[in-house]
Amino acid sequence: MRPQKHGIKSSSFVKFLYIAPFMLSLAVFAYFPLYGWIYAFFDYTPPIPLSQSPFVGFKWFHSLVENKVKIDQLLQVIKNTFGMSGLSLLFSWLPMIFAIFLTEIKAVRFRKFIQTVTTLPNFISWVLVYSLAFTMFSSEGIINGLLSQLGATDSPILFLQKSDHVWITMWMWITWKTLGWAAILYIAAIMGIDDSLYEAAHVDGATRMQIIRHVVLPSMLPTYFVLLMLQIASFLNNGLEQYFVFQNAFNKETIQVLDLYVFNLAMSGGSYSVSVAISMLKSLISVVLLFSVNGLSKLLRGESIV
């Protein structure tokens, strides 16, 4: 906008100065925590400050695999992580099916009602989900009340204390919470299909299922692919909240995913250094995964996802 070369330079730097405070805040809250990885190389036990803690090199990384008990424990956690992430990955097509069938509904009001109602759970916190779960499924909960009134059970079923099927119940809660919301992107993809495609299919005498198979489904695949890649990239990141709130003494063994394990180690066990070591490995593997799926996307679709 301004002709002189000198002028452009200074004004462009002034523009940077406007955003500089925000970049600083980002550096502090998003990049500076990387410095926290240094704890993995020290024998840090609070309240002794890091500066007085002895440097131990890779001791904690070795300690993760030093004896059978620890290996078994870590393996169980990894198994849980793979189990729960794997289940989500296995059923990652559910929102797509949800969207296909929802858009098949012709009564507009009914469709919108369903959409509003099924996206609602996405916006409540995991603590609230747990509270609902507790109210419905605890020993004095509504479901047990109903069952005992019907005479179906003699003693309450302890749904929430069970250690078996935890992966599946956790997956079911995730699905309950996010299915409707996840379908929105696919619904948008379906709404964006050119009418002429439908007309052509109809002229060719396609049945309803054939139209779904050959017109609707292909239109959603690009979205599905991108979301699938992102899901793979965050395979190790189950998040903490859901598993933390649902965790109890009975299901601890099968509910501990990496994020929860790391949290428990540090916040209830006080083993900050080991916890940071695992955290660090997890982050590094996640980055490798992200670059891999990004590369895969470039290879298959010719465009990157991040």
Partner: protein
């Protein structure tokens, strides 16, 4: 739930597109059966989504002794609202409500302001190293150090047991910045040019020209940010031990595990007051827990149906870009 609020973007496609398509299908017997099946499945899933909320609400307004027997299933019995008055006798609940509302209002304002400004600034092509700083921002969506390193850093910064820990880290939010930037890029460039020619400086351009135009997308950002703030739990769990800073979410989590002592306490308080609590209004473990749950979820239940289209718009723009 007005029609308008639940509509998907782009409106035109839906309005003109769907009816034309539907007219083309001949409905055969199997088609009808499939339709019935679809309706039933969706009705069932919708029921599963709503019933927990409904069930808890009718239990909180029913007589507590009937509720405790498990007799409230589809409609309330012995309606009263004493529970909602009683829960505020629990020490800390009112304070937690203030904290939650406070962090939502302050946090949302800061996030919206920063997202608007940064989203606008990142469209300024002549900014020094614009591309680098944009990447510097966006990459944090995909990568983080992990919660424990983050916790240790926050402790180093003295942000434990500090209200600022709720609102400072969320100021720069990459996803919201992308939303605003995409929106600004979709507005005509001539607008900014014209304003510059008229002698408007950068800040005038932002406050007088861009902010008013960006209102729709900022509404979307605000609603997302507010829900995030209201629902936040992890930061309290990691950073706060001072009960004066507990949020409603955190206090609810505690109540789920210790509601029995609370109900005894509230009942003792009521017994001391003039009217002896009747069985119908006597607090039980469950009545306390359910009532607090409804208080915590109420803002979402009230706000969500009204603003649903903002949420949908947000995810659409994000998807185009992401």
């Amino acid at each position: 739930m007005s029609d308008k609020s639940t509509e998907l973007a782009p409106t035109e496609t839906i309005r003109t597109g769907r009816p034309a398509r539907e007219a083309k299908f001949q409905t055969s017997m199997t088609d009808k059966m499939i339709s019935v099946l679809i309706y039933m499945m969706f009705s069932l899933f919708a029921f599963i989504c709503v019933f927990p909320f409904y069930s808890i609400i009718i239990n909180t307004i029913s007589a507590n002794d009937i509720s405790a027997r498990g007799d409230i299933i589809f409609y309330p019995k012995g309606i009263h609202f004493q529970n909602y008055l009683d829960v505020f006798k629990i020490p800390g609940l009112l304070n937690a409500a203030v904290i939650s509302v406070g962090r939502t209002v302050i946090g949302t304002s800061l996030t919206v302001g920063a997202s608007a400004f940064l989203g606008f600034m990142f469209t300024q092509e002549d900014m020094w190293r614009r591309k680098f700083w944009y990447r510097f921002t966006v990459i944090t969506m995909f990568f983080n150090a992990g919660i424990i390193p983050w916790y240790l850093t926050m402790r180093t910064l003295n942000l434990t047991n500090n209200f600022l820990a709720y609102v400072l880290p969320t100021i720069v939010a990459p996803f919201f910045i992308i939303l605003v930037k995409t929106f600004v890029e979709s507005t005509p460039k001539e607008l900014q040019h014209a304003a510059s020619i008229d002698g408007a400086g950068l800040l005038t351009l932002f406050f007088k020209v861009m902010l008013p135009i960006c209102k729709p997308i900022l509404a979307t950002v605000a609603i997302f940010a507010a829900v995030d703030q209201w629902n936040a739990f992890q930061d309290t769990l990691l950073l706060v031990t001072d009960s004066n800073l507990y949020s409603l979410q955190f206090i609810l989590y505690n109540y789920i595990n210790q509601a029995s002592s609370l109900s005894t306490m509230v009942n003792l308080q009521n017994a001391g007051s003039t009217a002896m609590a009747s069985l119908a209004t006597k607090q039980t473990t469950t009545s306390i827990r359910m009532t607090v749950t409804i208080i915590v979820v109420a803002p979402i239940l009230l706000v969500y149906p009204i603003f649903q289209r903002f949420f949908v718009k947000g995810i659409m723009i994000g998807a185009v870009k992401g």
